[in-house]
Amino acid sequence: MTDKKEYQDQTPAWCPGCGNFGLLNTLQQTMADLAIKPHQYTIVSGIGQAAKLPHYIRCNAFNGLHGRALPVATGIAMTNPEMLVMVNTGDGDCYGEGGNHFLHAIRRNVNVKLFVHNNQIYGLTKGQASPTTGQGMKTKTQPFGSLSAQFNPLALAISLDCSFVARGFVGDMEFLQYLMTEAIHHSGFALIDILQPCVSFNKINTFAWYRERVYHLDESHDPQDRMAAFAKSLQWGDSIPTGIFYRNSRPLLTDQIPPLHEMPLVKQSFDQQETLDLMNEFF
């Protein structure tokens, strides 16, 4: 166990009261408690308020393009399976612009931990509907209310047999830390959709709103049971379950790639001379 201070970096540029602070603190505490050193993990993010997180925690960081965190993370995780690779990014980033990568990262089952700061809004660009915005919520660009069905990341992940599927809430930090720890310990792609109030642009899904509704999935819920997990994932409204909905033990992509069987790619030496023989195939 290390001191959490070791994990602090730049001062966050978030709004006072933003749910992101709790998330950041929890993540720092998690890393400290697990004694994972800053250089032992990499955080990849896209663009948005959430995506600024890697600047606020000491880590290796790749703050990439809006929506494109997962492919970058996949590239890192495949090349260096010894690195703990996490993605911290927003709901718009991950489920909107990056939706296709979300699907296919789940299918690949690379060892990436995906922490989505789900504030049900586009924060950084000042309040447009995101895929998770509640139906009917009006914004400056959704004058008739958000008309598309609210995106359900958990149900979708379970439908794709995602290796680890959970929901947390930044107002419940201890539990969130437990979920993060479990996700990190899990071997496989792990999604935690984290309810994170945006105090500036989401006046509906506030701290109070979530607090009134969230509850922990109880012991009777078996995360191995995909049907039960799916049923639970559909629950939203007056009560919103948090916890580990689903987990399985699908093999890791990287375990199935022969070039990785001996050691991470990044550690393998290269000898140009040895490759030149390939020319013989063309005679």
């Binding site: 250089h39 990499t42 030149l276 063309f282």
Partner: protein, 591 residues
């Protein structure tokens, strides 16, 4: 110093120079037959050049595979065909006109329900002979191979190894029967052909020859350059690169990942590069369009990457299996914001092999995106060539790793340096952190918004590197006399055809080729005298496989030089040396 082609080869005059065309529907095996024939001749140490014409479908339609065999090096297709292997009736109708006056058409009379008269026809029941020899109908392809050998009186044994290799995973019976079919075809041609006297072989060279196409050369080049991660999304005509690398994945320890789309492909490759290995992606124009945002990301984060862009005719889906050079300015200017990049445009498989090597070196040395741009023609054409010269290959690991990194007291990803190049560390190998950001950032890689840091970073990333980069670019190749009156200007895959046209015209004209295999940053004018040579010439014709003359524009915008004329082709078919010669001659007469 201006690079000169080693020797001026003279156009072959009376030397052996035949073209064989195999034409038919997709799915009739013409690719296998063509490839085998090409290999047989190259193994015999003849020079071979092949090109393909195929439709965007898997079965049916009309395709062909054309093989040129000669004792001298051949670098382009010709118009006239000496042997046409017509796998269906349509192929005769379409290609009969192209037949050389002494040529011969092989067809299967059981397939083509028509009696075709005259010496030019050699009815050859491909499937029938195969069956007679104890094999199956499908072995008709081997009969065709045998027949070609028969025309030249090359003993069927010459086909043995090639057939055996191409059927490597089949059982011995199948191989034996195919070899018998070759024999049957051979005897049939020797016995039945009325024009045997027109087919003769000269003695081949002594040198062992490679036979390799553009995508193979690129992929092989990537392996030898230390590429360890390749992610791409299939797209003609770049897919061959992925196929080659996937085949080498296990042995050469290269991860080959098919991405869900091109956006993912380039971002994955950037992730791998960030993690510490050399990485590459390839695509064609439409996929490159989707990658441009990622190119800009590579530039901002200063993450090395090699991108092969293999062109095909656009816009949009265009003619997906054909050739064009119409993405030049898009590759030169693609990506938002301003940043340095390199664009290499090799003209031959051999040049492509070396270009990829240079691309990996420059990408890592300068931490920038480097492009190797080709097209369907370069991708699919097979060339024979002397064994590649490995002596000029580069490999230097510019990354800061392990102990060397650990020993540093401090590490900042974007340390300000005089060269603009900051140390590129591998994350995880020491307590130093590697922080990169697509926003403007400080030396630590953290977001900034102030103007002063922005200015310093633009200077570092763009201006300083650009200054050094210009010196990395090789001048164009002048082929022909040093004081040409006529210059054919080209870049990329038109190398071979322009060269041949120079050979065709150089007894009557003081003509040369000026070929640019590295186009961006544009080769500096000072060191080599190419601009003087251009200015001194009377005719400067820019030959391009596109409709708007993009290279002529680039040449003008970079040097102020305007070509006196342009030759453009944009129907998706390559120039042949004959068609280009005619166009050039017409041009010269007009002026």
């Amino acid at each position: 110093m201006m690079k000169k082609a080693a020797k001026i080869i003279f156009y072959r005059g009376d030397n052996m120079d035949y073209s064989i065309k195999i034409a038919g529907e997709a799915g009739q095996g013409l690719q296998t037959t063509g490839a085998a024939l090409a290999k047989i001749f190259s193994r015999l140490r003849y020079h071979v050049f092949t090109h393909q014409d195929y439709m965007s479908r898997v079965r049916g339609g009309h395709n062909f595979y054309q093989i040129r065999i000669a004792t001298d090096p051949v670098t382009a297709p010709r118009q006239a065909v000496h042997i046409l292997i017509a796998l269906n009736r349509e192929s005769i109708d379409i290609h009969q006109d192209e037949l050389h006056e002494n040529g011969v058409i092989l067809y299967d009379p059981d397939e083509v329900n028509d009696k075709l008269q005259g010496d030019i026809f050699l009815p050859t029941p491909f499937a029938g002979i195969a069956e007679e020899e104890g094999g199956k109908k499908i072995m008709g392809n081997s009969v065709a191979i045998g027949a070609v050998l028969g025309l030249f009186d090359i003993k069927p044994d010459a086909a043995k190894d090639v057939i055996r290799e191409s059927l490597a995973r089949k059982n011995e019976d199948i191989i034996t029967n195919n070899l018998k079919a070759v024999g049957g075809g051979y005897r049939h041609a020797r016995e039945k052909c009325a024009r045997l006297e027109h087919f003769r072989t000269d003695a081949p060279g002594d040198e062992k020859l490679l036979l390799i196409n553009g995508t193979q050369a690129i992929a092989f080049g990537a392996v030898t350059a230390g590429c360890r991660f390749y992610s791409a999304y299939p797209m003609t005509p770049s897919t061959g690169i992925m196929v080659y690398l996937a085949g080498k994945s296990k042995k050469q320890k290269i991860i080959v990942e098919q991405a869900e789309d091109e956006i993912s492909a380039i971002n994955m490759a950037l992730g791998a590069s960030y993690a510490g290995v050399r990485s590459m992606t390839s695509t064609s124009g439409g996929g490159y369009a989707l990658m441009t945002e990622g190119v800009s990301l590579a530039a901002m984060t200063e993450t090395p990457i090699v991108i092969c862009e293999m062109q095909r005719p656009g816009p949009a889906t265009g003619l997906p299996t054909r050739t064009e050079q119409s993405d030049l300015l898009f590759v030169v200017h693609g990506g938002h914001g301003e940043f340095p990049r390199v664009v290499l445009t090799p003209g031959t498989p051999e040049q492509a092999f070396h270009a990829v090597n240079k691309a990996f070196d420059l990408a890592e040395k300068y931490q920038i995106p480097v492009f190797v741009q080709g097209d369907q023609y370069l991708a699919d054409c097979e060339w024979t060539s002397a064994p590649f010269d490995f002596s000029s290959l580069r490999y230097h690991d510019y990354r800061l790793r392990g102990e060397a990194l650990g020993e540093l007291e401090e590490y900042h990803r974007y340390t300000m340096t005089e060269s603009g190049i900051s140390p590129l560390a591998v994350p995880g190998e020491s307590p130093h952190l590697v922080v990169v950001d697509s926003d403007e950032h400080d030396e630590n890689g953290h977001i900034i918004e102030d103007g002063a840091t922005r200015n310093r970073m633009v200077d570092k990333r763009l201006h300083r590197k650009l200054k050094l980069l210009r010196n990395e670019i090789s001048p164009p190749e002048l082929y022909g006399p040093e004081n040409p009156e006529i210059i054919l200007i080209g870049y990329g895959s038109t190398y071979g055809v322009i060269k041949e046209v120079v050979d065709l015209l150089n007894d009557t004209h003081r003509i040369a080729m000026l070929h640019f295999a590295e186009v961006y940053p544009f080769p500096p004018q000072d060191a080599s005298g190419y601009l003087d040579i251009l200015q001194a010439a009377r005719h400067t014709l820019c030959v391009e496989q596109n409709a708007t003359g993009q290279f002529a524009m680039l040449l003008h915008s970079e040097t102020g030089f305007r070509c006196s004329g342009r030759v453009n082709r944009y129907d998706g078919r390559p120039f042949t040396s004959d068609s280009l010669r005619e166009e050039i001659s017409a041009h010269l007469q007009d002026t």
